[in-house]
Amino acid sequence: MKIPGVLGVLLPEDVPDTRFNCSGNPPSPLLVKDERILTDHPLYAGDRIAAVVAETPDACYEAIEKINVEYEIFAPVFTVKDALAKNAVSIHPNLAKDNIVKKINVEQGDIKKGFEKSDAVFEDSFHTPTVQHAAMETTSCICYYTLEGKLTIWSTSQTPFQERRILSELLHIKENNIRIIKPVMGGGFGSRQQLHSQHVGALLSKQVHRPVKMINSREEDMYASVVRHESDIYLKIGVTKDGRLQAFHARVYFNTGPYSSHGPVVAAAASRKMQYLVPHYLYEGRTVYTNAPVAGAMRGYGNPQLTFAREVMFNRIAKKLNMDPVHFRLINHVRVGDSFPPGNVPVMSCAVEECVRGAEKIKYTIDRKENGAVRDNSQIVEAWGVAFGCHTSGPSSKEGMSSCIILANDDGSVRLFTGFADIGQGSETTLSQVAAEELGIELSDIAVTAADTQNTPYDTGTFASSQMYVSGNAVLRAAGNLKDNLKQALIKKYKVASDNITFEKGTVTISFENSEKIMTFKECVQKLAFGLKETVLIGNASFKAKESPPPFAVCWAKVTLDNQANTAEVKHIIEAVDVGTAINPEIVAGQVEGGMGMGFGYAMMEKVEIDKRALKPISSDLLHYKLPMSMDMPKTHVYIAKGYEPTGPFGAKSVGELSTIPVAPAIANAISNALGLKINSLPLSEIIVPSGYRSG
């Protein structure tokens, strides 16, 4: 039976049966290859079974309707608890009989001794939900496989070079014949730090000899692309009676869905975000297979989950010890020269005290404006809650790498060629600022060609808040190299010694015996480059990160509870950040505000819900999945500390992921303080009704 407009169909037997891992991380033994391009053994509601290509979307839908799939249905497991039950079905019997893909154990000191030495020990279990990135542009690609065997892909991509490598292995095409281009992109937040549909698109294009466009519907994005790991966390913390941390034991189970994807790397990354000093530390991360949606990278990468549990627990500890919650955190916090457990890599910048002061000043102003600190009568109770957070600048595994080529034009303006992918956070702007500053030219003198595997040099990718620090260091060094090359050309032209040429903020001074010649960078280029002149001026550099300096954040949330209506309104969120030098303070503030928005949603209302009867997620659109809208959002307040990271470009660290980390626990602590209740799970809408503008 032929449907008009249908051009081709792919079934599992038509595509390479190679197991692979879709994660856009550099190769690692933690990335288990357990996924197939198309499968005849689907393991969740979003699995890929067959692909249809047609001239119109309608013809595609019609053809899909006509495909009959016979399923043999097994009992699914959706939660960590079910997957670890004694008689649970093994989802990948060959890889993980007990459904635990990988175990990550990280240790410092002797955890048993630590608890023995403690005056008080606190323990509890926590749960965080599955959430989705909900980037405004859904995941998509256009793939064109030509008869000459060249593959060009335009796609929502955070990691074009990693995606090229995986595709090359999977489809047996040399990397020089694969071109991945990231166009302007409508957000990412981690969801495109991986291969999504490009393999299927490429094979369909190969079959029909035409470009093939694939655009996810919102429903497909919600549960058939990628989500943040649901987690079950067990935490045990020992302290001395004066509030010093002695022992910290965390066991975290991450629900990775039926494919491990980023899972074990997320579990490993979560172990490296403990910003407090503790002599005895034990972290056990477990990545667990289930039949829930596949989890992968999402803003924070394991950090939001554990930070939620830790900071909620710290609230309880401070209360029990009758200590101020900020003071309790500060006396245990790392400072310059200290290392995060379990490491020996000293922190080189930390402006946490300034963050505390900056946030408290804003808090004081709000309280004064709102007539008194907090209201507390029988019906309306107001309270503040606080949490700290940190993250990383570039992968905490120190795999961050980037490179950049800078080409000077005739008139002294320049073009940067670099592999990093701006996905809406503004990295093309901030990194242009780095180049402009180093060369002493205007921002408008800089143009950028980025994230195109044919025309730009390698970058690990847009993840782990890498761009400012890792890519920024590459841009800075490439600009430095351009200056060096310019200097060499000047030496040749003016026949002076190297010492006689100095660069100072875009001004070049050449000292002769009795005189000086002063020119701008642009004048030099105009004198030296192109035509009948001396040379073409190019600078280039690559940068391999040796560190991943942590940025820090202090977050306060103010809530109003209505005891009669059982509603909670988050009125204010304050976040103070130490991001080193803020190269572009407006972009930093925008990242912090956006992070607060995402953290607010995580705290209050977001959850991908799986219906036990339908045996699949029902959060299939933006009505059932509660994304914060303008009416929901509390007032946000940002403070940027004057930090300086010695290894960063002009002192900069990262901000993108950091900003969302401490928000949920700050809100949870505020609600806990107001309610006098213990909080152990998110979203808080499960215990109290969120209110605010939206409810009137």
Binding site: M136, G186, S217, R218, G424, Q425, I587, G594
Partner: protein
């Protein structure tokens, strides 16, 4: 599917277009695929995100929820139609000033919704702005700078009027 073609006349950004459309075709499809107004973004196709907001006779609508046949003889404004003589509209300008744009995907819809608000209420307060924008989702900004931008735009437009 619906193969019947119906002739419609619409005015988009001041220009008249005569088109043949299928009965099931949405205004969003027509604007993007037939007329090339790619500034109108597709985010959900369900009227839940507001990315495809355009002005229909000056009022904001989700283009994904309107059938093309419904807008016959109607006047439509897309983001491409609000700047004049290559100069940004004051609201666009305010979005730049306030750094209210990150990935930019929600921006056209936000700006058109803001325009509809400011055209009927030149001095909206915080709550009125939030209410007006409540059908436009943004995942990047947390809305703070977008709300600031609308306030800046209101001031600008009021000064221009005077």
């Amino acid at each position: 599917m619906d193969s019947k073609l119906i002739r419609i006349e619409i005015e988009v950004n001041g220009n008249a277009y005569h088109l043949f459309v299928r009965t099931g075709e949405t205004l969003l499809d027509v604007l993007r695929e037939k007329l090339g107004f790619k500034g109108t973004k597709q985010g959900c196709e369900n009227g839940q995100c507001g990315s495809c907001t355009v002005l229909l006779e000056g009022k904001p609508v989700n283009a994904c929820l309107m059938l093309a046949v419904q807008v016959n003889q109607k006047r439509i404004t897309t983001i491409e139609g609000i700047c004049s003589n290559d100069r940004l509209h004051p609201i666009q300008d305010a979005f730049v000033t306030a750094h209210a744009v990150q990935c930019g995907y929600c921006t056209p819809g936000m700006i058109l919704t803001a325009k509809a608000l400011l055209d009927k209420n030149g001095t909206p307060d915080d709550k009125e702005i939030r209410e007006a924008l409540s059908g436009n989702a943004c995942r990047c900004t947390g809305y703070t700078k977008i709300i600031d931008a609308v306030k800046i735009a209101a001031e600008k437009m009021n000064t221009q009027k005077k």
